[in-house]
């Protein structure tokens, strides 16, 4: 089973990298660029076949290491679930 985890900065947390990307898009002439926020994307291969168990384990991973919940949110997508 494959998990896809998206980690994004919480609202209100400054994202200077997102700002720099927004400026770069502006400079390339793309119109109408508003806020840009940069995050992380992590793929995890799991041998677990029970989606509920896999999700519980992934949530634990996110809480304990993959995300820093002081500043980040996470969203888990499970393939074939």
């Amino acid at each position: 089973m494959k998990a896809r985890i998206k980690i994004t900065l919480k609202t209100g947390v400054l994202d200077p990298q997102g700002k720099a990307i927004s400026h770069a898009l502006d400079q390339l002439g793309f119109d109408g660029i508003g806020d840009v926020r940069q995050g992380k994307y992590i793929e995890v291969d799991l041998t677990e076949t029970d989606p509920a168990k896999a999700r519980a384990a992934l949530e634990d991973m996110c809480e304990r290491v993959l995300a820093n919940t002081v500043i980040e949110n996470y969203a888990i997508e499970l393939d074939g679930a």
């Binding site: 209100g12 947390v13 400054l14 200077p16 990298q17 720099a20 290491v65 993959l66 820093n68 002081v70 500043i71």
Partner: protein, 222 residues
């Protein structure tokens, strides 16, 4: 003063820290590898600067899961003094020993220069050798030193007098919220700070303003 410096793969300021501790504390500090699970009996544990685990995932995140960090947390809970400088501060926030987080510098550049710090409180075992509101010089060298915490946490840190150092408004090098350069835990036996006091302890380094932190810790143990 008996002290120990924890070394992680990617630490690079441990030698400066060992030197400062020996010069000021009078005793050779112990060096403890991150794979150890127990700590010797010491008065002060130091997490030095560097780029532990190449800053992979987030600064300090992987180091925070090192076996030794369990022992560091236990000692901190018992009241043993813990000082985290730069990467050490990042590790302390990642493990939740200190609140908040350190984000990428607001201007996105690595910053290596001298700043001015205001001693925000001298009522602590790390700052008692300074005068309250004294302004000291101190070098910084980091890419992720932009302190962030939510409003409630910030208000609490202020109300509980747990902000040890603030950058002067004009020299805030990284965009840290409320100019925060260093904070303490609730019991005030753990200090995390981005600037490097160990690099300003003798005339050959251009000044001695950093000595106060080590002298405070030393005095209050004796």
């Amino acid at each position: 003063m008996k002290s120990a410096v924890i070394v992680f793969p990617g630490s690079n300021r441990e030698r400066d820290m060992l030197y400062a501790l020996e010069q000021i504390g009078g005793q050779k500090p112990l060096t403890v590898w991150h794979q150890e699970t127990t700590l010797p009996d010491v008065d002060l544990i130091v997490l030095p600067g560097g780029f532990s685990y190449g800053d992979y995932l987030r600064t300090g995140a992987i180091a925070g899961l090192s076996p030794i960090m369990k022992a560091v947390k236990e000692q901190a809970d018992k009241g043993v003094r813990v000082l985290g400088v730069c990467n050490g501060f990042q590790i302390l926030t990642e493990t939740g020993i200190l609140p908040g987080a350190l984000l990428r510098n607001a201007h996105l550049k690595f910053v290596c220069k001298e700043v001015e710090l205001e001693v925000a409180t001298n009522k602590s075992v790390f700052t008692s050798a300074y005068n309250a509101n004294q302004v000291i010089r101190c070098p910084v060298a980091h890419h992720d030193g932009n302190y962030f915490a939510d409003e409630d946490t910030l208000n609490r840190l202020e109300a509980e007098d747990r902000i040890a150092f603030r950058y002067t408004q004009a020299t805030n090098p990284n965009g840290s919220i409320r100019n925060i350069a260093g904070i303490m835990n609730e019991q005030k036996n753990v200090l995390g700070m981005m600037p490097h006091p160990e690099n300003l302890i003798e005339a050959a380094q251009g000044g001695t303003d950093g000595r106060g932190i080590f002298e405070s810790a030393l005095e209050t143990i004796a």
